[in-house]
């Protein structure tokens, strides 16, 4: 129990005054002293450490020692202290219970009905929910609009097969693709693919006896590369991290596709011979007309994954 303000202070031999003030220790948050005034203390208020307090009740604080010992205690110097309103000490006021009573404010008549309070509180929550809830869906769709654009499956003419002189040799075909992003003006970007005229052995490695089917995200069929067509077009982006690779002669592995970024090496069939590539080169849908014009569907696949996932 904490000593209450205005309670009587008694020594072993009689009353000495009342509790005028209470001093708290800012570190321990406990009452360190009481200041006793009035009564025999009269003009000089004295600072009494809590160690001197023997007992505390609601009305009386009993001190050890006599009145004489009390008068030997140091006088209270007000200007060495500030009130708790003039300083910020965390949680200090919660520890104070020195007022001999409570200070109250009346509860409004209308708020006395618990049923009423709970109804309006819950109704407020419901309305708050109904403000946010309908917005969630349109906002999500709004933000997600450009994230899953449909693919452009147009055939692009990239060149003529007369450019390919040898079998099983990579030939780069450069072309331009028109891109329109949202509201931006239409741009032409430079792209390239590597086309190979494959011998039956290489074809077998690529196709593994099955025609290559290309489907869109809904599963609808777009095109099938027949396994007996000798022309293969590889996407110009390395499946490791998307760098552009080249056709080079390696000192031990012969003629290969080599990516300069992280040294992934692929053979003519697109198989990974060395390096960090997670999957073989990506073949694209290809059509070759009777006159040798090569057309492809320009696709891009996610880099760095084992599975082939189309992204453009």
């Amino acid at each position: 129990m904490q000593p209450k303000l205005k309670s009587t202070v008694r020594c072993t031999d009689g009353e000495v005054g009342e509790v005028r003030r209470v001093i708290m220790d800012p570190l321990s948050h406990e009452i360190s002293h009481i200041v006793v005034g009035g009564g025999t203390a009269a003009l000089v208020e004295r600072q009494v450490p809590m160690g001197q307090v023997q007992g505390v009740t609601d009305e009386v604080v009993t001190l050890r020692g006599t009145s004489a010992e009390f008068t030997a205690l140091p006088a209270f110097k007000r200007d060495e202290y500030v009130t708790t309103h003039e300083v910020e000490i965390a949680h200090l006021e919660e520890r104070i219970h020195v007022t001999p009573g409570e200070v109250l404010v009346p509860f409004p008549e209308l708020e006395r009905s618990v049923k009423r309070r709970t109804f309006f509180a819950n109704f407020t929550h419901a309305i708050g929910f109904l403000i946010g809830f309908p917005l969630a869906f349109p906002v999500l769709r709004y933000l997600m609009k450009p994230m899953y654009s449909p693919f452009d499956n147009d055939w692009l003419k990239i060149g003529n097969s007369s450019k390919i002189k040898q079998d099983d040799v990579g030939v780069q075909f450069k072309y331009k693709r028109k891109i329109k992003e949202a509201y931006m003006p239409e741009q032409e970007i430079d792209k390239n693919v590597w086309v190979l005229k494959a011998t039956p052995k290489v074809l077998e490695t690529i196709y593994q006896g099955k025609d290559m089917e290309f489907r869109d995200s809904a599963g609808k069929h777009i095109w099938t590369n027949k396994k007996d067509v000798p022309y293969i077009a590889y996407s110009g982006k390395c499946p490791h991290l998307g760098c552009g690779f080249k056709w080079r002669t390696h000192k031990t592995l012969g003629q290969v596709f080599l990516c300069p970024c992280h040294l992934s090496i692929y053979d003519a069939a697109g198989k990974v011979l060395d390096g960090p590539a997670p999957r073989p080169l990506d073949p694209l849908p290809i059509k070759v007309t009777a006159t040798g014009d090569i057309t492809i569907i320009d696709m891009e696949f996610k880099a760095g994954t084992k599975a082939q996932v189309r992204i453009v």
Binding site: E88, M147, A182, I189, C243, C261, L263
Partner: protein, 371 residues
């Protein structure tokens, strides 16, 4: 009492009258006392300045950022040109942009300093767990600021650092693809990416930072400063002083020191852009900003090669580390705050800091080995 002298009544000055006017309505005097007269147990310390310095840096970033927005245009066809315009044609534009850039570095350095100080002083322990958690969220926001801001000049360095960074995020299982597409605004980086990064950098993150920083300060005030981790009660009491003016004085010296450091760096190492971003990296080797370099180098290790390895190194490991930091106040319940009596804490801090330093330096050395 001498009755011949007139009682002198000094008329309050105009300033005092205005002050009293506001005080009557706002409780200014009490408010001022409460705000400023906070006792700092054990006395104000230079080690405590980093929090206030961070607030100062943020304000400077906001000011320089707003100034930059007077000229910067966040579209793919104008971002580079408008940034170059700021650097070359606007008076002192080069200085303001460089200040903004070096300010972001200063912010990351001070965030590490502040977190280290709180960790070493054990000021995350009860009753300060919530402050620590909010602080971790603020750390994430600061990193987010650096990441999103880096893209805005739209030069090769900016574009490719962002591309690599978002691709790494893609490696998160289940949500990775969605998050990467959300940030990119599509399957590949482009105008949509720039718009999103701009909005996040300029509106979303500042709002989040201000809200959480306010909460952080409020919670800190409610718990009170932790003070030194050693010293007898008498020593602590003898050295205790108030937040104002003592700690504020140290805070402001810290602020001016950081301000001068950033100005010097802006003056002697101003920003120079590379060429405008192109979809083909060409000879350029992508690299993130310096405070992500350690992660970048970590992912080069063979143990993190392959799809799963990259996920492990880029997402799992950092994720576990952050989760550990978040759980720290709940795992470490020992009230002991003296760092020299917390060997696990001390050694862990040294190991983490040393590792980050080693990997960062290794990333810089590794530049010479790139073909």
């Amino acid at each position: 009492m001498d009755t011949t002298t007139q009682p002198t009544t000094t008329q309050p000055s105009v300033i005092e009258k205005v002050f009293d006017f506001v005080d009557e309505r706002v409780g200014l005097k009490t408010l001022q006392a409460k705000m400023l007269n906070e006792p700092v147990p054990g006395g104000s310390r230079w080690a405590y300045v980093f929090g206030s310095v961070l607030l100062f840096i943020f304000i400077m970033q906001a000011v320089t950022g707003i100034l930059l927005m007077f000229y910067y245009v966040p579209t793919a066809d104008h971002a580079y040109a408008s940034t170059q315009y700021i650097i070359h044609s606007v008076d002192y534009g080069w200085f303001l942009l460089s200040y903004h850039f070096w300010g972001s570095t200063a912010m990351v350095v001070c965030v590490f300093a502040h977190m280290s100080q709180v960790f070493l002083w054990g000021a995350y322990k009860k009753p300060r767990e919530l402050i620590w958690l909010v602080g971790l969220a603020l750390f994430g926001i600061v990193m987010g600021f650096g990441f999103t801001g880096y893209l805005l000049p739209w030069d090769q360095r900016a574009y490719w650092a962002t591309t690599v960074g978002v691709e790494i995020m893609d490696k998160t299982p289940v949500l990775g693809d969605f998050m990467a597409r959300f940030l990119k605004g599509g399957a590949t980086p482009g105008q949509m990416t720039l718009s999103r990064f701009f909005v996040i950098h300029v509106m979303v993150l500042p709002a989040a930072l201000m809200g959480l920083a306010g909460l952080h300060l409020f919670l800190f005030r409610k718990a009170g400063p932790a003070g030194p981790f050693r010293g007898s009660v008498e020593e602590i009491k003898a050295k205790t002083d108030y937040f104002f003016p003592r700690q504020i004085w140290k805070d402001i010296v810290g602020m001016v020191a950081v301000f001068l450091a950033i100005c010097s760096l802006a003056f002697w190492e101003p920003i120079v852009l590379l060429e405008e971003a192109t979809p083909d990296p060409g000879d350029y080797h992508p690299e993130p900003e310096w405070y992500f370099l350690f992660l970048f180098q970590l992912l080069r290790l063979k143990v993190f090669a392959g799809e799963f390895g990259q996920f492990l190194g880029a997402i799992a490991l950092p994720g576990i580390f952050m989760a550990l930091l978040a759980a720290l106040p709940f795992i470490d319940r020992d009230p002991e705050r003296n760092i020299f009596k917390r060997p696990i804490a001390l050694i862990s801090w040294i190991v983490v800091m040393a590792s980050i330093l080693i990997f960062t330096v290794a990333a810089i050395i590794n530049r010479e080995f790139l073909e």
